[in-house]
Symmetry: C2
Subunit: 378 residues, 2 copies
């Protein structure tokens, strides 16, 4: 499924191609997040126009609403939402732990009350596989426990052991399906181990031995400092097979993504571009700008000079500022399009730079020019 | 500016063409409402694709935010919002009376505190003309007082007398501009007179004598029963010149618009299609449906069979229902597009039926099949 087309010499960056049932994903690639069966404020047609090659669907959210009976009736998530490209689905684990109430973890899986109406629910490794298969996922994620940050070694080690048993059950589930000759999406494992290098390595090696279609690094973007985030990648990537795609879950800012590409990561997903757009914040190569701010009142320029997104081609910062201040939907729509374009364009640029052998210089210059995002200021 | 192309024989319906500085408006026509410099949730490109030929801008809202300094800096409302078609602007009067605080009406105009920050403001006939000219309006509305419903005869008569003096000052303002050789948009007068037939007639005759570029019927859609609404049209239209366009302000439901076309009205504006979309309600030829309702959960059909709008071409009622329930922006975007398409398509159909001499039958059948909108149910 994954073809490694080129590896950077100065860094560990990889140029690859992942083939799914719904089309090809050129890597490095960013996946817009479609939590509830829609990338917030954006239509599938617009996603195609932006060059999105794959989107992410959230298993927990879709399981709770509209529910699997509805998704099954409509023939899967692709048909339900009218998106014909690849879909990666998460395992549901992360949201079960972060959103649901009255969680009870057993060897079998997790019993919980959903966050919408408190109805009792259960998701375990096999149910997660079943839900993701009903969704018609092109890339399924193994069911894991995502430990919080910070996290004691003992908890992390015990959690990892359980996660590895759960992930093996997911692998066994798809193998049984393969033996029965039934179609399925790819299955990616998730490396856990919190901030502990030996656990990260143990996790990566154990999962590699189980042989998955791809490997994610999880338990990042849970509030840890950036050094810990990079360490989690560095402590796992060397022990993952070069011939499989690698995915850093829930990340990140533009410089973080370039740094992770340099450490051998191929796939990303992140709510930042869509979420901060709804607050009036837009990405640029120098950092984020908040269009609510008064310097933009009279600004006739686009969000970013030279940007070819639908917002920058047709609208000024001054008009966008007015829309954001007046809480008009068109404002967040346009900034969302710009931000997704920025992320997808950054990935396209990274791919081109890797192919040209100039990725390291590009990354250094981009990171040096970019002022990190400050939630207080945006 | 207005060319009367055909008049129906069975009704008073008219097929016309109004030419503005920014293009031609084929009448009967519906004008989507762009209160704050955007038709809510819709881009200018989408408006063109829907076949919108003219939109309405709200003078009061734009005067308060972003304010005239900003609009002037950007070269008018067309450039500010990137809409190159005709724009009709209201006079600001209606919102001054319905939204602002501490209003004081004098012969000169109205002093008030705006609804956003309470800043003291003044709008009178000349300021209204100046603001609308700064906006770059293609069709300006004369400044009027819109009496409430219900309204005593004495108040209505006094209010009308003041309104007629204000409207004459607007006409004098544009005449002075014409004499100075300065470009301007068309100026429409507004017939008032509340529910009193003699006042409506007096208003229409006095304004006709003053010679405006078009005539609106105001003081409708202010809470009155439908019979009063129709009476307001019937009591004014016969006294307006056939050679000028007629505009019923703030109206209406699909059957109401057809009934008014049959009474000789050419132009409409209404927030209904965009407003009820944001609540999950969609127009159909049988009436409105609320997509939140549970019968649509498993519905694989489009909002309306045979509809060619972007929502009906690509999405099911079931998916739209999910989006509305999950409060996803894409849901209200798609229903807004459908509703605007419905209104614009209804006008296109009315024009074709008038041309074919079959408008009366079309109107009767449409109205008979249509279940009136019930706010309680939507």
């Amino acid at each position: 499924m994954f073809e490694l087309l080129a590896t950077d010499t100065a860094t560990k960056a990889r140029r690859g191609r992942f083939t799914t049932r719904h089309g090809v994903i050129e890597t490095p690639m960013f996946m817009p997040v479609g939590t509830q069966g829609t990338v917030k404020a954006v239509s599938p047609r617009e996603l195609h126009e932006l060059g999105a090659q794959v989107i992410l669907g959230n298993t927990y959210h879709l399981f709770v609403r509209p529910g699997m009976e509805v998704i099954r009736h409509f023939g899967g998530l692709h048909k339900f939402m009218n998106w014909d490209g690849p879909i990666l689905t998460d395992s549901g684990g992360f949201q079960v732990f972060s959103l649901s109430k009255l969680r009870k973890i057993t060897e079998e899986g997790v019993r919980f009350q959903n966050h919408l109406d408190g109805a009792p629910c259960f998701i375990g490794p096999e149910t997660s596989m079943e839900i993701q298969t009903t969704l018609g996922s092109d890339i399924m994620m193994a069911f894991d426990e995502c430990p919080p940050y910070p996290c004691e070694y003992d908890y992390a080690a015990k959690s990892l052991a359980l996660t590895l048993r759960w992930e093996k059950r997911c692998r066994d589930w798809v193998r049984a399906r393969d033996e029965a000759g039934e179609a399925r999406g790819a299955l990616f494992a998730i490396v856990q181990g919190a901030t502990f290098a030996p656990l990260r390595r143990e996790s990566a090696e154990a999962l590699t031995a189980m042989d998955f279609d791809g490997y994610a690094i999880g338990g990042v973007s849970v509030g840890e400092p950036e050094e810990e985030m990079m360490a989690a990648i560095e402590n796992a990537a060397p022990y993952l097979p070069a011939t499989r795609a690698r995915y850093a879950m829930g990340l990140g800012t533009p410089p973080q993504m370039l740094e992770m590409i340099a450490r051998g990561v191929d796939l990303f997903d992140c709510v930042l571009p869509t979420r901060i757009a709804r607050n009036g914040s837009a990405f640029s190569s120098l950092g984020t700008i908040n269009l609510k701010n008064s310097p933009y009142i009279m600004d006739k320029g686009p969000i970013e000079e030279g940007c070819t997104c639908p917002a920058c081609r047709e609208f000024t910062r001054g008009y966008l500022r007015h829309l954001v201040k007046a809480e008009e939907i068109l404002g967040l729509r346009l900034i969302t399009l710009h931000n997704l374009h920025f992320y997808l364009n950054l990935m396209a640029r990274a791919r081109a730079e890797i192919e040209a052998g100039t990725f390291d210089q590009f990354r250094r210059e981009f990171v040096a020019n970019y002022t990190p995002w400050n939630p207080q200021k945006s």
